[in-house]
């Protein structure tokens, strides 16, 4: 799609004009067809990251992502804090999906230390994780709407997610950054009538999100902007190592809740949504279908949950693992989130590596944006389900 690059005559011109430059300055672009743009950290169409884009007219020739504007050094900080005191800062990379980023951490420590989680805690963890997935996806859809200029699509999800944030506030006490999961279960039990309230709100929420099809997914403008743009074929999706909704939109059926079930996902009926097109439209639709699936999972979990029981297995103070390492992964809103914990008999982890879905999908961004028109950039870029704060950790 990119046009032929130019002619040699401009090179001759530039060496002559470089003689007139003040000393110390250098001409950067020898080729004066190609312009370098900064889609920077302050841009209506980018999040907290920068894309250095070279355009030739209207077509993108090269794209160089420049993340790191929110790199806070989580992995280094984790080496100085105990396993339990690591929880508040480890959940901040994605504050509205905080349960899913703590999930592999808690599962890993439970494996290292060797304790078992009570049944009721497992069901409540599944419910909290699914609610968090919905809350994250709603915010992502809201920003997607704004990037495309559809401000109603900002207001509707931003309002509907407050229903679920109320539920999470009842469970954990905070709107976001719940710090609800601990190794050994969850921090505290839910209030008495939680099951009824949760069921009612989830049913109403499901009715509301079904209406998004009318304003967004069947909207001819969205279809024109996103169909057949940024097409990622099945082989490329596997070769680039993408994950989550990006992978499933290209036809690969891989959902960790089904392939490697953790907690009680093997007792629940989970259906993973797959679409074959691989374009931005499919990538924007899969998280919405996942939200509808989450409502089903929450309803099943509420039914099967044991009505009473403990919710936390107490650990000894300053839990330590052996000379061991562990890698657990979980399906979060962006894809597979894995934690590699290396322990060496001290109360602090020796090395904690967080492998997030956003960072793994980053490699698809320069690959897909080459050859696209500049106007399609927000549609393709945000459809990759990229949350910059998480990718930078």
């Amino acid at each position: 799609m990119s046009k032929q690059l130019t002619p040699k005559s401009s090179e001759k011109q530039s060496t002559e004009s470089s003689k007139n430059l003040p000393p110390g300055l250098q001409l950067e672009n020898v080729d004066d067809r190609i312009m370098t743009l900064n889609v920077g950290p302050q841009h209506p169409g980018s999040g907290h990251m920068r894309l250095i884009i070279k355009v030739d007219g209207d077509y993108i020739v090269n794209c160089d992502p420049d993340p790191g504007y929110v790199h806070r050094g989580e992995e280094k900080m984790a080496e100085y804090r105990n396993y339990i005191t690591n929880i508040p800062h480890l959940e901040r990379p994605v504050i509205h999906d905080s349960c899913n980023i703590l999930y592999p951490y808690c599962l890993g420590i439970e494996e290292l230390v060797g304790i078992e989680v009570p049944e009721r805690a497992k069901y409540l963890r599944v419910i909290a994780a699914e609610l968090n997935r919905c809350v994250y996806t709603q915010y992502w859809l809201a920003i997607y709407g704004i990037f495309l200029g559809h401000s109603t699509m900002f207001m509707w999800p931003a309002g509907d997610r407050e229903l679920l944030i109320d539920l999470l506030e009842k469970m954990s006490g905070a709107r976001v950054t719940h710090a609800y999961f601990v190794p050994g279960g969850i921090r505290n039990d839910v209030p008495a009538n939680f099951e009824d309230v949760c069921l009612r709100q989830v049913n109403y929420f499901e009715k509301r999100i079904k209406e998004y099809a009318g304003i967004f997914y069947d909207n001819p403008i969205l279809i024109a902007r996103t169909k057949d743009t940024g097409v990622l074929s099945r082989e490329d999706a596997i070769r680039l190592g993408t994950t989550g909704s990006v992978l499933r939109a290209s036809g690969v059926d891989f959902d960790i809740r089904k392939k490697e079930p953790y907690d009680v996902y093997d007792e629940l009926d989970v259906h993973s949504n797959v679409m074959k097109a691989g374009d931005s439209y499919a990538r924007s639709k899969i998280p919405w279908l996942d939200m509808l699936e989450s409502c089903n999972i929450i309803r099943q979990a509420l039914e099967k949950m044991p009505k009473s029981g403990g919710v936390r297995t107490k650990l000894k103070p300053n839990p330590k693992g052996g000379d061991d390492e562990v890698y657990r992964r979980v399906e979060s809103g962006r894809g597979s989130l894995g934690m590699h914990i290396v322990s060496d008999k001290k109360p602090q982890p020796y090395r904690l590596k967080i492998s997030v879905g956003s960072f793994r999908n980053l490699i698809a961004m320069p690959y897909l944006l080459k050859g696209e028109k500049l106007g399609n950039m927000p549609a393709v870029y945000w459809s990759l389900n990229y949350w910059p704060v998480e990718a930078d950790r």
Binding site: Y69, G73, R92
Partner: protein
């Protein structure tokens, strides 16, 4: 009689005194009018620095509607904005860009430091890439504590900023 009063020698003084009287008559109501215009249309720049941006986005949502105060996030250009909300942790990579954004905004401009990380570095106080607060980079008007602050707290901060603007003098 006026011609006797105003001689070429004291014409300047006369004009100067007349000017002072006019300004004193008009200053207070003009100031109140300009301030009224400014405080009911504070437009924040669309720059998200870190995780508090989620609560800022929620504050613009239908439940905690911040648009009723005139705070509409101007997605067009930062040359028409007058408020920078520093949402969350500022890293060393982001700080020069934030200063650049602040310098490009026209006067009068205000800064709200949102979240514990923007005030003192917060939870990430000992990280290698985090600035201990935004005070060294931008002049802050209102500090909003919280990690992240609830949207209601952000709205209270905007109202405090409005009080501050009301008391500003024009000249």
């Amino acid at each position: 009689m006026l011609k006797d009063l105003v001689t070429p020698q004291n014409a300047n003084v006369f004009l100067g005194n007349l000017g002072d009287i006019l300004i004193k008559a008009v200053d207070k109501p003009l100031g109140m009018a300009l301030n009224w215009g400014r405080l009911w249309s504070l437009w924040p720049v669309h720059i998200e620095t870190a995780c508090c941006s989620v609560e800022f986005g929620a504050a613009s949502g239908p439940r905690y509607d911040v648009e009723r105060f005139g705070i509409i996030e101007a997605f067009g250009s930062l040359r028409q904005c007058d408020l920078v909300v520093v949402q969350g942790t500022i890293t060393r990579k982001m700080a020069p860009r934030l200063r650049l954004v602040y310098d490009q905004m026209p006067e009068p401009k205000y800064v709200i430091a949102m979240g514990a990380c923007a005030i003192t570095g917060g939870l990430y106080f000992d990280s290698y890439n985090v600035l201990p607060g935004i005070d060294g980079v931008l002049p802050v008007d209102v500090y909003v504590p919280g990690c992240p602050p609830r949207p209601e707290t952000l709205i209270q901060a905007c109202m405090l900023l409005q009080e501050k603007i009301k008391r500003q003098k024009i000249r």
